[in-house]
Subunit: 384 residues, 2 copies
């Protein structure tokens, strides 16, 4: 079998590290072409020595010097900054690019890969949230495919295998409900960063963990599902399922419902995106329903978690609104992590940014990049 | 769209009646060619007037006279007895035959339809239990397809859509556990017919309801799954799931698990077998996970329900053993329903019949019919 040429952007993050475990397990299937990191130079250097990519990219200019020194003489090309990232993503000699960049910085690499005709295993949901319509058009033009990596979208994708989209009644995204599912709403203003970073089921990076606590993660996933599966937003529902075992479901028009289940282990959806349409053997721990005993379900609480309603609202508004929601959320989360704003300020800030921005019906990439700057400024300068 | 020519054997039973509801709902897709009943002449006559088949079959000779009189002048041909059933099943001008005959009487019609090259929606699991190897060979020769109707097998079939069988690690058949899941084993000898007919979730015919109470139904389903999906018996597991919402699951080699869910309503799997590979719209009540609240899982109790172990044992023995198990079970159930033997005598009788019969490694249909007579005699004359 020919080795598939694989690029992993964001290789030092939680998804990237798990992806390299998957690749290590299936080393007869993949050749790693490029790895990238934001600023974790030590781990990137270790990964480079282990997987021998042709190229690494490091965003942070200070960290770049260390990477260049450590890899000098290895024959591995070192690129710097976002320009380097775009160059790596745009290579046309790669079969599959896993985009596990965190946040809106992932959008430009997604677009570069689509233009190069490369298939994308997409963990960076922000790409679709910000530029869904543009990505849809580029996919059609280039024939590139997007394979979801998010556990929910991987579940839906797996449930749709062999099915006709015309038979789908609705998608049901499950969510754990995050760490504050049962917390009383009146105490939300006092939520600390430590509390918000304590996710009950999934071990993830900081940004997505806070998004899970506000449930904006589920809101972003609704928008992601809208663009990935091309259904009406009224066909996307959310059900709270605290055990995170059923990763999502598809209801068909005859009342039959398909679900994909598994332990909350990102290696499963990552591997499926890399090996699609096959399910290659793995030695990770497996689901045992009897040991688990029970699965429970609740309605989502739109009152306690206003981010959910904001996500559906921007989807209805369309145009540039989802991009602004995404950037405002990202910047608000960073301010919360820096303890500059309260937990409950996050949805307020997002709502204000979306309301105050000048809506563009069909934004191009330049419009979105301009709005990204405007929104970042808006949030960074917000005094509350 | 051309109407698909459909025969329904066993149209007055629970599956048959539900199938005609499905057909009524999708009347622009099907033309009913033939209906059959065992002895419920009144319902068969009403169905014939409503659906205008070309032909009806009535097994019971006394009931036949009434059917013939009522349908005289309608142009509907009336056939009698098992010979008539075989003739109807063997028509080569039918696109799809739903075999919802109860018990071992369904085997010969299944074989007749396969020889005629007709696709079969198979509710009669006994066909596969008794003549799995023969049916497998006939399928390959004729190109006929078998579409499962049992909710569990329909679930597995749906989960396998678009998948490669080489990627399947195991099938997980769910079972409600029946009415005696929590009953103390020492009181099993006192189980009454009324208690055994009181299934918690599914409204079904008497034979299958008693099979659910002894859990032989799940045992027969293991054998059915073995022949339908052609996996090793060690790849078929059972999990008890009292709510009967997850109808079965497939675990893949990567740890991903797919499940099919729905309300316990046989119209869903019946319709899917009739409309495969599509999920046509229906107006039946739909699953609401939030309203349901929880799904629970337990290990099956092989000690309380010895029929389960017997089913796995005959599958390992192979040859004629499953056929004898099936006939012995059927006759024992009828004796229990007539209050001639105790509930706990059912597995004893089956075990004795399987042990005492002369095992044939590769039985042909004549061998199986002979064994059916032998086993029936054995059970009918058993004094306990």
């Amino acid at each position: 079998m020919m080795l598939r040429r694989l690029t992993i952007l964001g290789s030092t993050g939680s998804i990237g590290v798990n992806a390299l475990k998957v690749v290590g397990n299936l080393s007869n299937q993949f050749q790693v072409i490029c790895l990238s990191a934001n600023k974790n130079s030590d781990l990137l250097i270790r990964q480079a020595h282990k997987y021998h990519p042709e190229m690494v990219v490091i965003i942070d200019q200070t960290a770049a010097r260390k990477v260049e020194q450590s890899l000098s003489g290895t024959g591995i090309t070192v690129l710097r900054g976002t320009a380097g990232l775009t160059e790596a993503a745009g290579r046309s000699d790669v079969d599959l690019m896993l985009n596990a960049v965190v946040g809106s910085a992932g959008m430009v690499p997604t677009i570069a890969a689509l233009k190069a005709g490369t298939d994308i295993a997409l963990s960076n949901k922000e790409s679709l949230v910000m530029a869904g319509a543009i990505i849809k058009r580029l996919r059609l033009e280039s024939g590139s495919r997007i394979f979801p990596v998010d556990s929910e979208h991987s579940a839906i994708w797996q449930c749709l295998a062999g099915e006709d989209m015309a038979d789908v009644k609705r998608l049901i995204l499950t969510g754990s409900g995050g760490p504050f599912r049962t917390r009383v709403k009146s105490t939300f203003p006092e939520i600390t960063v430590t509390e918000a970073l304590n996710h009950p089921n999934w071990k993830m990076g900081h940004k997505i963990t806070i998004d899970s606590a506000t449930m904006m993660n589920k809101g972003l996933e609704v928008i992601e599902a809208y663009w990935l599966f091309e259904l009406d937003e009224t066909q996307i529902d959310i059900v709270i399922h605290p055990q995170s075992i059923i990763h999502s479901l598809v209801e068909f028009k005859d009342g039959s419902v398909k679900a994909q289940l598994g332990l909350p282990d990102m290696k499963i959806p990552i591997q499926y995106a890399l090996t699609y349409p096959r399910h290659s053997s793995s030695q990770w721990e497996k689901l045992d329903l009897v040991q688990l005993g029970q699965l429970t379900f609740e309605a989502p609480d739109f009152d306690k978690f206003p981010c959910l309603g904001l996500a559906f609202a921007v989807l209805q508004q369309g145009g540039s609104a989802p991009a602004v929601l995404n950037v405002a959320n990202e910047q608000a989360v960073y301010r919360f992590l820096k303890r500059e704003i309260r937990f409950t300020a996050i949805p307020h800030l997002i709502e204000e940014a979306v309301e105050q921005h000048q809506l563009i019906d069909q934004p191009d990439i330049d419009d979105i990049c301009e709005l990204e700057k405007w929104t970042t400024n808006f949030v960074v300068n917000w005094k509350g």
